[in-house]
């Protein structure tokens, strides 16, 4: 399978991370397409839900926001935000939720910035702010982060810590009093990264076909261990077909 974009591969890579039966929280954009792809490809019994309160939406068409009316049609329940964030925390469903989120900046412990570049009070660039990402990153045991692989995005220190990753590494996250675990994976347009079990520092797990570990390092401010990394298998014809035909036929998010 040669005819695919890195954006498509990154979507598929994220979809593959989702176990069948998972309860998937997703945000706007590529994370939504990845969740849809997972459901169509490898996790048919998983449930997609949105912070807005829509549970198990059919998604006949791709929503362009988590409050898009397309998320409200043919759901199991149309609840509210209070309900949605409750599912991430209670005894029964809390541990089953997989969060898929993104950000403008990330550091080596998976802490994210979606708020400002520069000083908070006089920002060079203002972004949307947390939305529900800080909450998801606080609560769930399994979160997957989408990032564009650029040096200005993989930084030594985030300008504003919007969504908690492993904080300062080690057991610092637990000590801070956060309930869930830090991020599991970071999925970019070049690679899949995980986190060391002890130091909680980012490590390279897989590089995409045609991308070298060295190129990946060139696109990050901080170093990551590349010693255990291997090449990711390319997307299958079926995966790409489903992605293009079923998840985003208009190319609204994936492009074309």
């Amino acid at each position: 399978m040669d005819d695919y974009t890195l954006r498509e591969l990154m979507t598929i890579a994220a979809a593959r991370q989702i176990n069948d039966g998972a309860i998937i929280f997703c945000g706007t954009g590529i994370s939504m397409v990845a969740a849809m792809a997972a459901k169509h490809i490898n996790a048919p019994n998983s449930t997609i839900f949105f912070e807005t309160g829509a549970i198990d939406s059919v998604l006949e068409e791709l929503p362009l926001a988590v409050a898009d009316p397309r998320v409200m049609y043919y759901t199991a329940v149309n609840g509210g935000l209070i309900d949605s964030f409750g599912y991430m925390q209670n005894r029964k469903t809390g541990k089953q939720v997989v969060g898929v989120i993104g950000a403008a900046q990330i550091d080596c412990y998976g802490n994210l910035n979606s708020t400002v570049i520069g000083d908070y009070h006089k920002p060079k660039v203002r972004f949307s702010g947390s939305g529900g990402a800080c909450d998801v990153a606080s609560f769930v045991d399994n979160s997957i982060i989408f990032m564009q692989h650029e040096k200005r995005k993989f930084v030594n220190k985030v300008d504003y810590l919007t969504s908690p990753g492993w904080l300062d590494g080690g057991d610092s996250r637990e000590r801070a009093g956060l309930p869930g675990k830090g991020p599991s994976k970071v999925i970019t347009n070049m690679a899949i990264m995980g986190f060391d079990k002890v130091t909680r520092k980012m490590v390279l797990e897989n590089y995409y076909p045609g991308i070298t570990p060295e190129k990946i390092l060139e696109n990050m401010e901080f170093e990551v261990d590349i010693s255990q990394a291997s090449e990711l298998s390319p997307p299958t014809r079926d995966e790409i077909k489903i992605l293009r035909e079923k998840c985003d036929p208009q190319g609204l998010i994936i492009g074309r």
Binding site: T28, G29, E51, T52, G53, A54, E60, E61, P63, L64, A65, V66, A67, D68, P69, R70, V71, M72, Y73, Y74, N78, G79, G80, L81, I82, F85, Q89, T115, Y120, H121, K122, P123, K124, V125, R126, F127, S128, G129, S130, G131, G132, C134, D135, S138, F139, Y160, L161, T162, S163, P164, L167, S172, R173, A176, G177, L178, P179, Q250, L252, I253
Partner: protein, 325 residues
Amino acid sequence: MTTRSEKLMDLSTAISTFVSDGCHLSIGGFTVNRNPMAAVYEIIRQKKRKIHLYAHSNGQGVDELVGGGCVDRIEIAYGGNGRFAPTCIRFKRAVQEGSLLVEDYSNYQMTLRFLAGAMGVPCLPTRSSLGTDIFNKWGFSRELREQDPKLPNEKMVAADNPFGGWADTEKLVFVPAINPDVTIIHVQQADELGTSQIQGLPMADVEQAKAAKHLIVTCEKLVSSHEMKSQSDANQIPHFCVDAVVHVPGGAYPTACYNYYDYDPMFLNDYKKFASDDAMFAKYLNEYIHLVKNHQERLDIAGEERLAVIAADPRTGYAVNLDRK
């Protein structure tokens, strides 16, 4: 006691009665959905100033109020509009220019804050944001907080779980209640007494509504109390919470109103262009808002053809196969 004839009013009266310069205002809706846009435009038209705004993830409404020069301070979780504006453009500009003071919370925290207001408690606990800058950094200074009795003295407070380690929790973050002077929401249907029904996702509108000292409801359809009471299970807001009921068909346009119409992707793309340039935006404000008498005239600008394109499909509640590029 407010009787029915006192509650049913036109939008201009509702805004001039309940929204004043410097008031603390909360608006419902989420990004591209069910923003009370007719009310937003009327607020801009009436040139309300120095508003202290609350929202969780409201997109279009926030951006137009900010762009319209009505807002000095905002407490918010997310100022974006989905694919149309990953960060709301006038909001972004105002923050970068220093003309808009922002206090950042997470979406769940904002929702809990409205819920606390609706429940009449000063705060609610969560574990979200420990160790983050949402917790550590304040947008509003302590001085500002102490000057304004409508603001709590702290952004949020971390404390030990009062029950020791019960429920595997050592620490809690308490977020303060919001009690807006006025909340405005747009709903699918309401009766003259104010009983309201939201179809599709209510988001956090119900909490926002019940937290407020005054509540304005704009609705697509004004129905009889008999009809509303025949659908009890589908209604969320009882009449005694409501101060003003305004019948404004298309009142969420250009955002979506489930079962009535979709968002208008053509306009939202146009808006992106207008908002990205100060001169064009000034022109936009003038032509689309100030020179327009009411929301019907605003809908006339969109035109029947465009409105027909975004009309909701009765099966899905949105416009099927709408061109959204």
